[in-house]
């Protein structure tokens, strides 16, 4: 079984590496670094304004650490066919999961360490802690993460409750109470008590697993969902094949597409328009990024950074609508339609234009809110339009054409 784990891990890592290379190859990563820099700058400015201890300082530190501990799930690498082909190996699977758990600890621990490090200046300045307090809290958070992974592992064997209470809830509550109490008294108590809890619970894991049965369906669904989230994240930056999305009817949005006349020339417009509003992937993308864009535009005072934000976010949305075209083109039936490739691209351009113009229109309000009726506002707003023009009239048609020509679509 550990051979199987090693093999899957290797395949998984190769895959991740492939995506990471794609992400870090893209030009916009540069812009992303600028954005990070802007946030760092904002954080350091914020710290300068704090001169005395804030009443909610400790609560905020604990809350952020608590949320950080929720990130990262048990990566089991289970696959759909496992429930058929490996059913007979159920008993041996525990070893496999143990290896999976070991692997799953690494990233969350790094994340917690980084967040704790970033939090430390605030904790010292705003929450009246010393450096050791911060270190103790960080270690506590790492320990609760280890416990939560154990909890997930026994959950795969159907063990969801302890003393009649939901296990993840119980452990999270214990963490919150311990850490809060400790941070107002003796911070070193939290890691010691959590260490005891972890050692105790960890020793119980095998027993819980033996007492229950492996919940194949749950294990596989959980893993599929986890992979889906990972891929969706990558999908923000690059095309990820095989990411299938959820469809919702959203009847209340029908008014937006009912205007499309039922005639031959509108075949693809009809199809794309409905897809974009019903496919969670794409409507979600536009919504998420537009909201984030508006928030950033409202927060940032710097003209140049606002300019980059405006252009970057429109570019991101436009760039990420492209996979939808590919998704539809993979449908075999549409390849048989007596419709020329040219009009497929034209229809997609129309849809992309509409979505981006809506996003642009919303962003105008944020820009005007921050910069008023000024030359700066004008430049940012026009720059947004330029990006839309570049995307839909230069970049996309060329890319889509290339895609259609290469793929025999």
């Amino acid at each position: 079984m550990s051979e199987l784990w090693k093999e899957r891990l290797k395949r998984h890592q190769l895959n991740q590496f492939k995506y990471l290379r794609l992400i870090f190859n893209d030009t916009f990563v540069l812009a992303f670094i600028v954005l990070l820099g802007a946030l760092g700058f904002w954080y350091s400015n914020l710290l300068d304004t704090i001169h005395s201890q804030l009443w909610f300082g400790k609560l905020l530190v604990v809350a952020i650490l608590f949320l950080t501990a929720q990130a990262g799930k048990l990566a089991t690498m289970m696959e759909d066919p496992d429930s058929t082909f490996l059913l007979v190996r159920e008993k041996q699977f525990f070893k496999y999961f143990k290896a999976a758990e070991n692997y799953s600890r690494f990233l969350p621990i790094v994340l917690i360490a980084v967040i704790t490090f970033l939090l430390s200046p605030f904790a010292v300045q705003g929450a009246g802690m010393n450096v050791w307090d911060v270190v103790f809290l960080g270690i506590s958070t790492i320990l609760i993460k280890m416990i939560l992974l154990d909890v997930q592992l026994v959950g795969l064997y159907g063990k969801n409750q302890l003393f009649g209470v939901n296990l993840p809830l119980l452990m999270n509550l214990v963490y919150l109470i311990l850490v809060l109490a400790a941070s107002y008294t003796f911070t070193w108590l939290a890691p010691i008590l959590l260490l005891v809890l972890w050692v105790w619970f960890n020793s119980k894991v095998k027993g819980f697993a033996d007492a229950g049965h492996l919940q194949w369906q749950k294990a596989i669904t959980d893993e599929n969902q986890r992979m889906f989230r990972v891929k969706r994240f990558y999908n923000l930056f690059t095309d990820v094949p095989g990411i299938s999305s959820k469809i919702k009817r959203r009847k209340w949005l029908d008014f937006a597409v009912n205007g499309i006349k039922l005639k031959h020339d509108n075949t693809y417009l009809y199809l794309f328009a409905r897809g974009v509003i019903r496919n969670n992937e794409y409507i979600g993308l536009v919504l998420r990024l537009t909201i984030l864009q508006v928030i950033l535009l409202c927060l940032i005072d710097n003209f140049y950074i606002s300019l980059i934000v405006e252009m970057l976010f429109i570019y991101l949305v436009g760039f990420q609508l492209k996979p939808y075209f590919k998704e539809v083109m993979q449908n075999l039936m549409q390849r048989l339609y007596p419709v020329a490739a040219k009009s497929k691209i034209a229809a997609f351009t129309k849809i992309s234009n509409t979505m981006l113009l809506i996003q642009w229109f919303v962003s105008i309000f944020a820009v005007l809110y921050k910069f008023g009726l000024s030359a700066n506002s004008g430049i940012i707003i026009v720059a947004g339009l330029v990006v839309i023009g570049f995307l839909n009239y230069l970049y996309m048609p060329h890319q889509l054409r290339k895609f259609l020509d290469n793929g025999e679509y």
């Binding site: 469809i247 009817r249 039922l262 005639k263 031959h264 509108n266 075949t267 009809y270 199809l271 409905r274 897809g275 019903r278 496919n279 539809v328 449908n331 075999l332 039936m333 549409q334 390849r335 048989l336 339609y337 007596p338 419709v339 020329a340 025999e408």
Partner: protein, 243 residues
């Protein structure tokens, strides 16, 4: 409508699945395309509908090839794939509207047709559902409705009977008969030999990407020297030939 395949050679990538395959489907004929898994049935169909490009030979519909006039060539064909292929984001009603738009059909007349077909297959109360969530058999019915409501002259049906309930199989056969009476041609690939034996005018037996034999049941009996045989017996005899 006539479909003529002359010395067709082709397949996926570098592997030639079909080797100099030739056969003809005449006006108003229902033809059964028969062969073992991997004999080349679906590959033949993919070449006819233009999803694969032949490496050699010709495919002509009414004397016209795909390259001569893509759009008119495609308008002549209706295709029901082996595995239903649907748009996850469209409702049943929208699938029908989209097909009408794509093939530039008359909206009202086609809807009349479609409504009749939907009633036949008991789908008329599911117009606002997403067919993507239907069972295999119901999805197959949607594909059949979308194909048979068009003005196509050649109907290509890939393994239509699996997953359909017996009532729907019967309804489909009636539709095929109806199209035949209207002068259309039907090419049907299937493993359900007993059904196709009673409903096809002619059979094409494929083996290793070549036409092993074709003709009516009587002609096949004569070719294989099996006077009392049914299609099953002939098929099994053919399959044993290369053992």
């Amino acid at each position: 409508m006539t479909l003529e395949i002359k010395d067709l050679t082709g397949g996926y990538g570098q592997v030639a699945v079909l080797k100099k395959e030739s056969f003809k489907v005449e006006d108003g004929q229902v033809v059964g395309l028969i062969g073992l898994n991997g004999a080349g049935k679906s590959t033949t169909i993919k070449h006819i509908i233009g999803l694969l490009t032949p490496r050699g030979g010709q495919i002509l519909i009414d004397g016209m090839s795909l390259n001569q006039d893509v759009e008119n060539y495609r308008k002549k064909i209706a295709y029901v794939p082996e595995m239903p292929i649907l748009y996850p984001e469209l409702t049943l009603k929208e699938h029908i509207d989209l097909t009408i738009m794509a093939y530039d059909l008359d909206h009202d007349k086609t809807w009349e047709n479609a409504t009749r077909l939907l009633k036949t297959f008991r789908l008329d109360n599911k117009l606002d559902w997403f067919p993507q969530n239907f069972s295999k058999g119901m999805k197959q019915k949607v594909m059949i409705v979308c194909a048979f409501m068009t003005d196509a002259r050649l109907f290509i049906i890939d393994e239509p009977f699996t997953g359909l309930d017996p009532l729907a199989v019967n309804d489909l056969l009636n539709l095929v008969e109806e199209k035949k009476q209207a002068g259309c041609s039907v090419l049907m690939s299937t493993h359900i030999l007993a059904t196709v034996q009673d409903h096809a005018d002619k059979f094409i037996l494929l083996n290793h990407g070549q036409v092993r034999a074709d003709g009516t049941l009587d002609e096949l009996k004569a070719k294989f020297n099996m006077q009392d045989a049914n299609l099953d017996d002939i098929y099994i005899k053919m399959s044993h030939e290369d053992l």
